[in-house]
Amino acid sequence: MQNSAFFHFLTLLLFKQKSKHIGAVLISVVIIFLLSSVLFLSTSLRYSLLATMDKQADFTVTRMQAGKAVNTPSAWTDKILEINGVTKVAPRVYGRYFFAPRENAFLIVGVDFFDEQSSQALERLIGKVDMKRFFSEESMLVGEGVRQFLRAHYFNRDFTFKTPVGKFKKVTIFQTLPESANLIANDMIVMPIDLAREIFGMQEDEVTDITFNVPNDAEWDNIVTKLHLMFYDVRVIDKREIKKAYENLYNYKGGLFLLLYLITIVTFMLILYQRYSMVYSTERKEIGILRAVGWSIRDILKLKFYENLVIVIVSFIIGVLLAYLYVFVLGAPLLDRLFLGGANLHNHVSFVPVVEFGTLGSVFLFYAIPFLAAVLIPAWKIAVTPPKEAML
């Protein structure tokens, strides 16, 4: 059989029977679109979060009491600094402030702005800051989500915090944190460390936890042992654990989505298989006619293979393109809530386009192989029966 004639016939067949294929294409596009959207979202979030790990301290030390993290004595900072190989020891004060009337919570982070590193980091984040004005009254920097929430509740210029001792603390909104930092800072309030302590009702010699770096990786395990010998009520978390947690957080392999995909794809393949295996289907007649006019089994399988390969490729490209547009251009409305949650402040994040071509290739294979198998196996079964019987 001449190849050009074969492909001409294939093209004619595809265009003539458009309506026959449209259902399969539509279902395929929906399945590919949903799976690709989830993959794009999870990959993008993982990429963005792992990027922040470079700036994260290597270790975090927290005091434990009755299995729960409690405030850590700030005196531990000096003790940790005495360990050889430890650098950049920094106390952290942070916690959630519950806004009872609306059952929302903000993450308050206390920063020591007099520390050179912190003031440089602030300058890099929001440009030149008028520190005089910042310290002239009690001020704070708020994330985009907090800003919108406060504005909606008529706190346009400042917000009044209630401290655990029953005092009220009015803090001026100095500036909003950049929107591109929403993935981390949406519900964040950054304020001077002493002010944060006052709002949480912490003592002056208390911090939430202490972070530090150990530049030599080979020393990491040794440092952990030293810490456990130094303090008996301590929990040490290293960066590797956090990294692992973030890698797994959005890992589609462990998610429900892959399971849902498998269920959907199996159902769809069964429908396709059923369509081709039906006794009175047009497919049977078509194959019977082709066999009657002299086509070999091999030619029929070749025709069906190419016919469905075109459908698979077109559906895959449309599905992936729609998913790309939905996630990276439109910002994945609705689906972002599944990944970022929706119980607190709404977080609007611009997802960084990251496409793992290996994963997309796997999706294509996991989709194309069952699809082609679901069509070719019944087609082969019909093709091997005598044409007369097939057309009955």
Binding site: L45, S48, L49, A51, T52, M53, K55, Q56, A57, T60, A69, A90, R92, Y94, F98, E103, N104, A105, L107, V109, V111, S118, A121, R124, L125, G143, G145, S180, A181, N182, L183, I184, A185, N186, M188, I237, I242, A245, Y246, N248, L249, N251, K253, G254, G255, V314, I317, L321, Y324, L325, F328, L340, G341, A343, N344, L345, H346, N347, V352, P353
Partner: protein, 76 residues
């Protein structure tokens, strides 16, 4: 078919020209300032906002894990 090719080209153009570094740098800057790399998950107040440092527990039902917690849906 040509429309499909055009769409692929547009998506490829968007992917290549997207300012990936600026977003990445901004996240690194906020982490450098606060030392908190945790994603701002919009979780209920009794769910952990900062992973590994906080434990999830609903004070009303301490033994019952909330069904919508993130690590229930995704692998831990």
């Amino acid at each position: 078919m040509s429309f499909l090719m055009l769409c692929v080209a547009l998506a490829a153009g968007h992917y290549i020209t997207y300012g990936r570094e600026s977003g990445r740098e901004m996240l690194q800057k906020i982490t450098a300032l606060t030392q908190i790399p945790s994603a701002s998950l919009s979780v209920a107040w009794y769910e952990p906002r900062i992973r590994l440092y906080e434990d999830a527990s609903n004070p009303a039902y301490p033994q019952m894990q909330p069904i919508d917690r993130m690590d229930f849906v995704y692998a831990k």
